[in-house]
Symmetry: C2
Subunit: 384 residues, 2 copies
């Protein structure tokens, strides 16, 4: 019983080293501020919590949830797409519920036959689950370099026809974690055209589209109708529902949705019906993410000003609750982390997100205003 | 993008054919009784629902649940094992939470390296997820024949040393779905001895151990300490929590639990903390499954008597809420289904559970007493 080789690799992430340092400081009585996890501290959209409680109060027995999602939930997602993207999605043939977008993203690769090769293309800085999934499924993947020069988006023109030949799945995450880069509609349309030409599937992870500070970030839903994308949307950020686990998968490719329904039935990924009751409220309302953004904008400004006063260069910033930054005089992520940990602040080294992260760091600001204020003060004291 | 070959196989299960027939009858106004799904209709253990609601009421914001489970939950499972099986399990090193045992069972195979071959042994009648998982992961599996002669348990003596050489994982499900067969402690110990000798991992699915009508069914936890098993326990049946999705994985093999923690972190399988709050109550109490069983015993007797009066042979019956039966004069499962559907009753053909199901059928009795009474009456009218 040799273990999956991915599970036996020895890895010591800088992330863990600094998490340990933070623990040591805490033990010494330091008031440590942890700004590493994109988990909103502000309240869940109240209608969600109320509907969840009401559903639990109204039904004394239990029942297996349908793994594809209830009719009412799927219709709420369809209505959301119509209101926000002027697109009609058939709730039974083009949408399926998931138990949060993380598991849906993890399982996506299983849809395809990898026995005759094929690769997954992943941005060289990204949400680790794309790589974790490929590696645990023993599927080859290729990192597409993200750099300041290409505005932290894969350079589609730099990919050769030979490379496209091996591409079966392409992860695009816009607004992007960790860099906050946003792909414009032209970029997304170009990617769709390439997918149709070279016959690969775009997997679009759009977790952060509802938390934005400028124009609404374009969605794959806004491109010309195509069967070459699968969209993963989350309520975790939109409605502050990280602890509920309920999202949605959409595609105009009905064969793909049918295959997902079939594939996911034995996986046990149905969200409990009382959670679906909450999620329905979240999909039905478009105002609450706008309201959330008011607070985030204030927090962002406070921290970004403090960072820029200290000479940091902050990138992007059009969406999400991350600050991605570097310093022209400090070339290593860990050196930046050292400065912050001296002030009792834990942030994430860019290297935790992939091979092109050296020199960058990510800070979250989905914490309370009070914590942001304290953080800004401490940034002022950084020994630079 | 060729789909996973398992997803493109054309299959028309008898199950679906009869589900359609049931829909047609319903449309004609017939009061159809569906006895195909093992999903208890009786109330969830009330303390679970109360604790879940209280947790939701007590916290207005959300947070990602730790995928391995909260300390309090893992300790409640450890206490349960100590009380019920006189075994000390380290809550941090020998137990991990899961999002219901279905997903945990589905994902188990990913723990191992299958690149140099190796097979999963699966009973020839079983919960379909073992086979679904192997097939979707493109892992070879072998069916071990279950027959009346071997009391619906794999004949361990019939497996050759050559066969044991290729075995990496062995699914044992006792009490068994669908046949209700129970492996005695001697059988389980023999299996553990074989696993140590031939170096394979026993995956023990013990979903039905808490619903029993005779002695407590032996558990893999009762065998001599070994690192060659992983145990999957569910609250779905024990506490009528099918709709909550929260179970536990246990093993004395700390390397396996550490690998599971690592593997499952990117899978997004954490149960929401408010559900964990409910699950803690379920693990803490051993009386409520006993109370549930009082009702099940009555329902079972009512239906079993009705079946036997009509000449059906009912097997096993020591645990679970299934009746597994055949008729000496009716050789095909579908012929039995035809008789039942005439009376507006839908049951599951044995063939839905694997290659050795012909001639058998499964009926659930986790429905209301009223429905059982009505079913018994209709069984009396079967045209045999």
């Amino acid at each position: 019983m040799k273990l999956n080789p991915y599970l036996t690799q020895k890895r010591e992430y800088p992330l863990f080293i600094y998490a340990r340092k933070a623990e040591e400081l805490k033990a010494q009585g330091v008031d440590v501020i942890n700004l590493t996890i994109g988990d909103p501290l502000d309240d869940t959209y109240p209608a969600v919590r109320e509907a969840t409680i009401k559903a639990l109060q109204g039904k004394t027995n239990s029942a297996y949830p349908a793994s594809k999602g209830s009719k009412e939930l799927l219709e709420a997602v369809s209505d959301w797409a119509r209101r926000n993207h002027d697109l009609n999605l058939d709730p039974t043939k083009q949408i399926i519920s998931c138990n949060g977008s993380k598991e849906a993203i993890f399982h996506a690769a299983m849809l395809f036959d990898w026995s005759d090769g094929g690769e997954i293309f992943i941005p060289s800085l990204s949400y680790p689950v794309y790589e974790n999934s490929a590696a645990l499924h023993s599927i080859k993947y290729k990192y597409l370099p993200l750099t300041e020069e290409n505005n932290f988006l894969p350079d589609l023109d730099a990919i050769s026809d030979e490379d496209w030949q091996v591409c079966k799945m392409f992860w695009i995450n816009s607004p992007h974690n960790p860099t906050t880069a946003i792909a414009d509609l032209e970029y997304l349309q170009k990617l769709v055209d390439l997918a149709e030409k070279h016959y690969f599937m775009i997997c679009a992870d759009e977790c952060y589209n509802d938390i934005h500070y400028g124009p609404v970030p374009p969605s794959i839903l806004d491109t010309k109708p195509s069967k070459n994308w699968i969209l993963f949307r989350s309520l975790s950020k939109r409605s502050h529902m990280t602890g509920y686990r309920c999202g949605a998968i959409m595609s105009l490719n009905e064969e793909i949705i049918a295959a997902l329904i079939r594939m996911r039935a034995p996986m046990g990924q149905g969200s409990p019906t009382f959670i679906q009751a909450g999620a329905i409220q979240a999909w039905k309302d478009d105002q609450h993410p706008k309201d959330f953004t008011v607070g985030y904008r204030k927090k962002k400004k406070m921290l970004q000003n403090a960072l820029e006063e200290k000479g940091f260069k902050v990138f992007g910033g059009g969406a999400s609750f991350y600050l991605w930054f570097s310093h022209s005089e400090i070339k290593e992520s860990t050196k930046i982390l050292d400065l912050f940990i001296e002030q009792g602040i834990v942030i994430t080294p860019g290297t935790a997100f992939g091979p092109d992260g050296e020199g960058y760091v990510r800070m979250v600001f989905c914490v309370t205003e009070e914590v942001c204020r304290k953080t800004a003060e401490r940034i002022g004291k950084l020994n630079i």
